[in-house]
C-alpha cells in the first residue's frame, strides 16, 4: 500500500512506539514536525514521493492527538496529482485534517469536480468520499447536480452509485436550501427497486434523510420499503455476501424500519397487513442463540421492529406482546440485550399508555440497579425514574436510597437528584418527603446539591404540621457521631426555627439543643457558621426567662466571631450580640421566618431543562412533536364550541332553531321530529381541518341561539344568571388580586384536547391542577375531577359549582372545602344527556390561597361527540336509509368553499377521533368519505347518524 516502501515513515512510527513515556513521544513528534516543516518550506526540491511521505507522517501525528497546523496546502495539492497513489493520499489526508469551513478546500473544488465528472471510476470514488466527508456549501452549490446524475446513471457501477447516494445525503443534510430535491420522490421510488443491496442500503439512508425532513412527498416510497423489508425478512433472493451470520443484511432491515418510522402511519390496509405480518414474524421468530454475532444481528433487527411497532401504535395486543418481550430481555444473560431491553422500555414509557404493564416488571428493574455493568445500572435508573408515579413512588425512592450507599461515585449525584425529584413529585405525605431528603443528605451528602436542602427547608417552613416532626428528625441525626456538613446546616436551621416546639420533650431543652448543635461547630466550614450563629440567636430568644449560663456561652461565641475576617459571619455575630442584649424586643426581630412564596421547584426545573437540552430529532421525539402539532392544529382550528368560523353558513343557518326557548317549552319534541340527524356536505375543494369543527357543530340538530356572534357559553352564563362574560377564554377573574394567578397553558386548548380524549388536564395554575377522567356509556357519562394541590400549604374555600345547560343533567359529588398540601382529591360527576344540544356545561371553580381568591369558569368536555358510539353500517343499510331522508331538518347539507385542502387519510382520522366510523369502500368514489355513528340521549335513545363528505374540485362544480 501507499505506506509501504516508505522507510522513513516506518522508522518514525517505530520510534514513536518505542518511546517510554508521553514526554519522550512529544519530543520525537516535535522533532519530526520540525523536520517536515523545513522540508515543506523548500518545496521546490520535493518529489511527489517525498511529499506523500510527509503528508502521511502529518496524519499519523494528528491521529496521536497532536495539533498539526501546517502542511494543509501540501495535502490539498496532492489531490491534483496525476498518479493514483499521490492522489489517494491527498484525498484521504485532506478529509481527515481539514473541516468543511477550511479555506484551502476552495482551491480543490475544480479538481474534485473534474474527478467526479471524469471517466475514471477510482478517481470518482475518491472525490465522492472527500465531498461526503467534508463537503460544505460551496461543494453543494457546484457539485450537487453532478452527484445526482451519478446516482441515477445507468452506466455507473454500483460502487460509484452507492457513494453518490451518501454523498448527496451529506450535501442535502448540510445545505437543504442548496440541494434541490423537488421531484425526487419518483427517483427515490425507483432507487428502492435496486437489486444491488449495497446501492439499496445507501439509497435507504438517503431516503431516511429525505423523509425525516418531509414525509409527505415520499408516500410512494412506503410500499417499496415494506416490500424490501419483506424480501429481507423472508430471505428471498439475498446474495450470500449480504447475509451476515445467517441474517439477511441486518443493516438494511434496520434502515428500512427507520425510514418507516418517519411516516406517521401506514394507511393502505394491504401494505399495513403485510408490514404487520413481517413485524410479527420478527418479534416471534427471534431467539437468543449461542453465537454472539448472530445474536447481536438478530436483535438489532428485533429492537428496530419494536421501535416501529411502538411508532405505529398497533393494536394493543401487539403492544403488550412487545412489553412482554422486553420483560424477557431485561432478565436474560446477554448484557447487551439487557441494556437495550431497559432502554427500550424507557422509550416505551414515552410513547404509549403501557405503564401498568411495565410496572409488573418493577422487581426485575430494581434488580438491574445492581447489575455488574454500570451502563445497565444507568439505564435501570432512567427507567425507574420514568416509570415512577404516586402508586409506586414509595417503593422506588426507598430502593434508590438503599442503592445510594453502594452506588458508584459516578452515579451518586444523578441518583440523589432523581430521588429528590421523585420524592417531591410523588410524596404520599410530607413527613415521608422529609425522611427521604434527610436520609439522602445523610447517605450522600457530597452529592446533594444546595437546591435539595433549600427545598426541604421551604417545605418545612410552609407547613406547620411538619415543623415539630422535622425538628425531632433533625435532632436524631445530630446524635450521630459524624454527619455531613449539609446535614449540620439543615438540622441547625430547623432546630433553630422549630426546636422550641418540642421544648417539653426530654432532650430538647434549649441548652441541650445548643450543646448538640455546637458539638458540630469545630467540624464545619465558614459557609455553615452563619447558619449556626442564627440558630444560636434563635435558641437564645426562645429561652425565656434567659438562662445565664447558656446566655454567656452564646455571647462568648458571638464575641469571638465579631472579629472574624468573613464579612457575613462578622456581621451576624455583631448584630446578634447587640440584639440579644435588648431582651424582649428580640422576640419580634428574631421571630420565625415567614412562609416562602410558592414557586416551581428548582430541582424539577433543572430536570426539565436537562430534558430540553438533550432533545434530539430522533424518530420517536419527532413523532411526539408531530402528534402534538396535529393535536394543536385540530383544536386550534376548531372554533369554540363548534361554531362555524366561516361567515357563509349556507342553508344550514336556516334550520337552526333558537334552543333555549324551544327546549324549555317542548322538550320531547326534538327527538320525535328528528329521529335521524343527517348532514350532507359538498366540498368544492378538499376540506381543511376547520371543517371537522363545523361538521361536529352541524351534526347536532338544534343550533345555538340565533345570533351568530354570540357564543353559546355566554348564553349559558345568562341562563344561570351569571354576569354575561364575553370572555371566550372562559377564565373570569374575580377581583383584581386574582389577576396575579395566571393559568398555566391555554385553557381553550386544553378544553379542545379533552373534547377528543377522555383524560387529561382541564386547568392548571401555580396552585392547583384540575385533571379529568371520563367514561361514557350511551347517554350517560361518569367524569372524575382530580383536584390536585401543588403547594406546600393547603388551599381553602374550595368551591365547585356546575352550571349545566338544559340538555344535560349533572350531579357533582361533594367537594371538600380545603385541599391539604400536595394532596389530590377526586370528585365524581355524573352526567346524563337528555337531548341533543351544542351547549356546553361550565364548571365554576374557586379557591382561596393565602389572601388571594381565585375563580375560574371552565367549560367541561361533556360535548356532543362524547355521546356518539361508532357503528359500522353495511351498504345495504346505508343507502336506503340515506335516501329515505328527504331534506332539512332531517338531512342537512352544507357546501364549504375556499378552505385549505386536507388529505383524505387525515380527514378519516379526524372522523374517527370524533367517534364517527368511516366506512371505507361504501362509496365507490374514493374522494368521498362516508361515516356513521349512533347518537344517544335520553329522549332520542339510540339514533343513527349518517355522514357523507364529498370533495369537489372547484372547476367541476362551476
Amino acid at each position: 500500500m501507499a505506506l509501504s516502501g516508505m522507510r522513513g515513515l516506518s522508522v518514525f512510527i517505530s520510534d514513536v512506539r518505542n518511546c517510554q513515556n508521553k514526554e519522550q513521544e512529544r519530543l520525537r513528534v516535535d522533532k519530526e514536525l520540525g523536520n517536515v516543516r523545513t522540508r515543506f518550506k523548500n518545496e521546490k526540491g520535493l518529489s511527489p514521493y517525498e511529499k506523500k511521505k510527509y503528508v502521511w507522517k502529518m496524519l499519523y501525528i494528528y491521529m496521536l492527538g497532536y495539533d498539526v497546523d501546517f502542511g494543509h496546502m501540501e495535502a490539498v495539492s496532492l489531490i491534483s496529482a496525476p498518479k493514483y497513489p499521490e492522489k489517494q493520499v491527498g484525498y484521504i489526508v485532506t478529509a481527515c485534517l481539514l473541516n468543511e469551513n477550511h479555506d484551502f478546500l476552495r482551491l480543490a473544488i475544480n479538481t474534485v469536480r473534474n474527478d467526479i465528472i471524469g471517466r475514471n471510476e477510482t478517481f470518482q470514488c475518491l472525490a465522492l468520499t472527500l465531498v461526503g466527508n467534508i463537503g460544505g456549501r460551496e461543494f453543494a452549490e457546484s457539485l450537487a447536480a453532478d452527484v445526482q446524475k451519478l446516482l441515477i446513471s445507468s452506466s455507473c457501477r454500483p460502487l460509484v452509485r452507492k457513494k453518490a447516494a451518501l454523498c448527496l445525503l451529506r450535501l442535502y443534510r448540510k445545505n437543504p436550501d442548496v440541494v434541490n430535491v423537488d421531484g425526487w420522490a419518483d427517483r427515490m421510488a425507483q432507487l428502492l427497486d435496486e437489486r444491488d443491496l449495497g446501492v439499496l442500503t445507501s439509497s435507504m439512508s438517503l431516503l431516511v434523510a429525505l423523509v425525516s425532513n418531509n414525509h409527505e412527498a415520499y408516500w410512494s416510497c412506503l410500499p417499496k420499503c415494506v416490500k424490501t423489508l419483506e424480501r429481507l425478512a423472508r430471505n428471498q433472493d439475498i446474495p450470500q455476501e449480504y447475509t451476515y451470520y445467517g441474517i439477511p443484511s441486518p443493516w438494511l432491515q434496520v434502515k428500512t424500519m427507520r425510514a418507516l418510522q418517519y411516516f406517521p402511519t401506514v394507511e393502505d390496509p394491504n401494505t399495513r397487513r403485510s408490514l404487520f405480518e413481517v413485524l410479527q414474524r420478527i418479534l416471534m421468530g427471534t431467539d437468543v442463540v449461542k453465537n454472539v454475532n448472530k445474536n447481536n444481528a438478530s436483535h438489532a433487527v428485533l429492537f428496530e421492529a419494536l421501535a416501529l411497532v411502538m411508532h405505529l401504535d398497533a393494536e394493543k395486543e401487539m403492544m403488550s406482546q412487545c412489553v412482554a418481550l422486553l420483560g424477557k430481555f431485561i432478565a436474560v444473560r446477554e448484557p447487551n440485550i439487557r441494556y437495550l431491553g431497559l432502554e427500550n422500555m424507557t422509550r416505551m414509557l414515552m410513547v404509549t399508555d403501557v405503564q401498568d404493564i411495565i410496572k409488573r416488571h418493577q422487581a426485575q428493574i430494581i434488580t438491574s440497579l445492581k447489575d455488574p455493568d454500570i451502563s445497565i445500572r444507568r439505564r435501570a435508573l432512567d427507567l425507574l425514574y420514568g416509570m415512577c408515579d404516586v402508586s409506586n413512588a414509595k417503593d422506588i425512592v426507598e430502593e434508590l436510597l438503599q442503592y445510594l450507599s453502594s452506588a458508584d461515585f459516578a452515579m451518586r449525584e444523578e441518583l440523589s437528584l432523581k430521588a429528590a425529584i421523585l420524592a417531591e413529585k410523588f410524596a404520599p405525605d410530607l413527613s415521608w418527603y422529609v425522611d427521604v431528603i434527610l436520609q439522602l443528605i445523610d447517605k450522600a451528602g457530597d452529592f446533594v446539591s444546595d437546591d435539595i436542602w433549600f427545598r426541604v427547608v421551604q417545605f418545612v417552613t410552609n407547613n406547620e404540621d411538619l415543623q415539630s416532626y422535622a425538628a425531632a428528625k433533625a435532632r436524631e441525626y445530630l446524635n450521630k457521631p459524624a454527619i455531613h456538613e449539609t446535614m449540620v446546616k439543615v438540622s441547625a436551621y430547623i432546630l433553630g426555627e422549630y426546636g422550641h416546639l418540642l421544648a417539653r420533650r426530654p432532650g430538647y431543652s434549649p441548652k441541650e439543643l445548643f450543646t448538640i448543635i455546637h458539638e458540630k461547630h469545630p467540624t464545619v466550614s465558614t459557609s455553615t457558621i452563619p447558619i449556626l450563629l442564627s440558630s444560636y440567636a434563635k435558641i437564645l430568644m426562645h429561652t425565656q426567662p434567659p438562662e445565664p449560663e447558656l446566655q454567656n456561652q452564646i455571647w462568648t461565641i458571638f464575641n469571638k466571631y465579631e472579629s472574624c475576617i468573613d464579612v457575613e459571619i462578622q456581621q451576624r455575630a455583631a448584630e446578634y450580640f447587640a440584639l440579644s442584649r435588648k431582651g424582649a424586643s428580640l422576640m419580634d426581630i428574631l421571630a420565625e421566618m415567614p412562609k416562602f412564596p410558592e414557586r416551581q421547584s428548582a430541582l424539577i426545573r433543572k430536570a426539565e431543562d436537562a430534558e430540553v437540552d438533550t432533545a434530539e430529532q430522533s424518530a420517536i421525539k419527532l413523532r411526539a412533536q408531530q402528534q402534538m402539532s396535529t393535536a394543536l392544529v385540530v383544536t386550534d382550528q376548531r372554533p369554540p364550541n363548534g361554531m362555524p368560523a366561516q361567515p357563509s353558513i349556507g342553508p344550514l343557518s336556516l334550520v337552526k332553531v333558537p334552543s333555549e326557548t324551544v327546549d324549555s317549552q317542548n322538550p320531547g319534541d326534538q327527538g320525535l321530529t328528528h329521529p335521524n340527524g343527517v348532514v350532507y356536505k359538498e366540498d368544492p375543494q378538499p376540506p381543511s381541518q376547520d371543517i371537522i369543527g363545523d361538521l361536529l357543530g352541524t351534526l347536532s340538530i338544534e343550533g345555538p341561539p340565533g345570533a351568530v356572534a354570540q357564543s353559546p357559553q355566554s348564553a349559558t352564563y345568562e341562563a344561570e344568571g351569571a354576569p354575561s362574560a364575553a370572555d371566550a377564554a372562559a377564565l373570569v377573574p374575580v377581583g383584581e388580586e386574582s389577576g396575579s394567578v395566571q393559568p398555566i397553558g391555554n385553557i381553550n386548548e386544553r378544553f379542545y384536547a379533552l373534547c377528543l380524549k377522555d383524560s387529561g388536564v382541564l386547568y392548571e395554575d401555580p396552585n392547583i391542577q384540575i385533571g379529568i377522567k371520563a367514561e361514557w356509556r350511551a347517554h350517560q357519562g361518569r367524569l372524575v375531577l382530580f383536584l390536585g394541590n401543588k403547594n406546600t400549604a393547603s388551599l381553602g374555600s374550595v368551591q365547585a359549582l356546575i352550571l349545566p345547560p338544559t340538555h344535560l343533567k349533572m350531579e357533582l359529588s361533594l367537594v371538600p372545602e380545603t385541599i391539604p398540601p400536595r394532596a389530590q382529591v377526586q370528585c365524581p360527576l355524573e352526567v346524563m344527556n337528555l337531548r341533543p344540544s351544542r351547549d356546553v356545561a361550565v364548571l365554576d371553580f374557586s379557591y382561596k390561597f393565602g389572601p388571594t381568591m381565585v375563580n375560574v369558569k371552565l367549560r367541561l368536555p361533556a360535548v356532543l361527540n362524547k355521546f356518539l358510539q361508532p357503528i359500522t353500517v353495511s351498504p345495504e343499510e346505508f343507502f336506503p336509509q340515506w335516501r329515505s331522508l328527504s331534506g332539512p331538518p332531517l338531512k342537512l347539507q352544507e357546501v364549504v368553499r375556499g378552505v385549505r385542502p386536507l388529505p383524505l387519510p387525515e380527514m378519516a382520522n379526524l372522523f374517527n377521533t370524533y367517534r364517527l366510523t368511516v366506512c371505507p369502500g361504501l362509496d365507490p368514489n374514493p374522494n368521498n368519505l362516508v361515516a356513521s355513528t349512533t347518537f344517544y340521549s335520553e329522549t332520542t335513545r339510540a339514533m343513527l347518524c349518517l355522514v357523507s363528505s364529498q370533495l369537489f374540485i372547484e372547476s367541476s362544480t362551476l
Binding site: L3, S4, C96, N133, L159, L166, R170, T201, V254, A300
Partner: protein, 166 residues
C-alpha cells in the same frame, strides 16, 4: 450518523481515528484519557455500551468491542441502531482479518493508511456504506492493483513488521 471511529490498544494508544463530525475531534485528547480508565477495569461479562454524552456531547452513544490487544470504538447518535453498530465493528474487523490474514496490532500500526482505505469503503461521511466484507475486499484489492501499477513495492510483509516488534 456515526460521529467517530477509533481503534486503540489496551494501553490507550490510538491506532486509528476518524472523525465524521469535526467538533468531536477537539475532544479527542480528553477522550483517550477518560475512556481508558473505566474500560480497563471493566469486567468481562458486561455490555458493549458506554455513556458518552459527557465526552462527546448530547445524543452520543458509544459502542466498543475488544479484540486481543485492541479496542474498536464507534461513537454515533440516536439515528443509528446500537446493535447494528456493533455488527459493523465486526464487519470492519473481519475485513481487516481477510486483508492481513489474522490481523494483529502490528499490521494496524504499520499499515494505517490501508486501514483508512478499508474504513472509507465501509463508512462514508458517517453513514453505513457497505456491509459485506466480501464486497469491501473486492474494492480494496482493486485499489491495491491500481497502486502497484504505479508503485512496484507491495505490502509490508509480516516478517518486516515482525522485525520491528519490540
Amino acid at each position: 450518523m456515526i460521529k467517530a471511529v477509533m481503534v486503540m490498544n489496551t494501553q490507550g494508544k490510538p491506532r486509528l481515528t476518524k472523525f465524521y463530525e469535526f467538533l468531536v475531534r477537539k475532544r479527542q485528547t480528553q477522550f483517550s484519557l477518560f475512556f481508558f480508565l473505566p474500560c480497563l477495569i471493566r469486567a468481562e461479562n458486561v455490555s458493549n455500551f458506554m455513556e458518552a454524552d459527557s465526552i462527546f456531547g448530547p445524543d452520543s452513544r458509544l459502542v466498543y468491542k475488544h479484540y486481543a490487544t485492541l479496542y474498536f470504538v464507534f461513537v454515533f447518535d440516536s439515528s443509528e441502531n446500537e446493535l447494528a453498530m456493533l455488527d459493523l465493528i465486526q464487519v470492519f474487523v473481519e475485513t481487516l482479518d481477510k486483508c492481513f490474514r489474522n490481523v494483529c496490532e502490528l499490521d494496524i500500526v504499520f499499515n494505517y493508511s490501508k486501514l483508512h482505505t478499508i474504513l472509507d469503503e465501509i463508512i462514508f461521511g458517517g453513514q453505513v456504506l457497505e456491509t459485506s466484507s466480501a464486497e469491501v475486499m473486492k474494492v480494496v484489492e482493486e485499489i491495491s492493483r491500481q497502486e502497484s501499477a504505479s508503485n512496484s513495492i507491495g505490502l509490508v510483509t509480516k516478517t518486516v513488521s515482525g522485525w520491528r516488534n519490540r
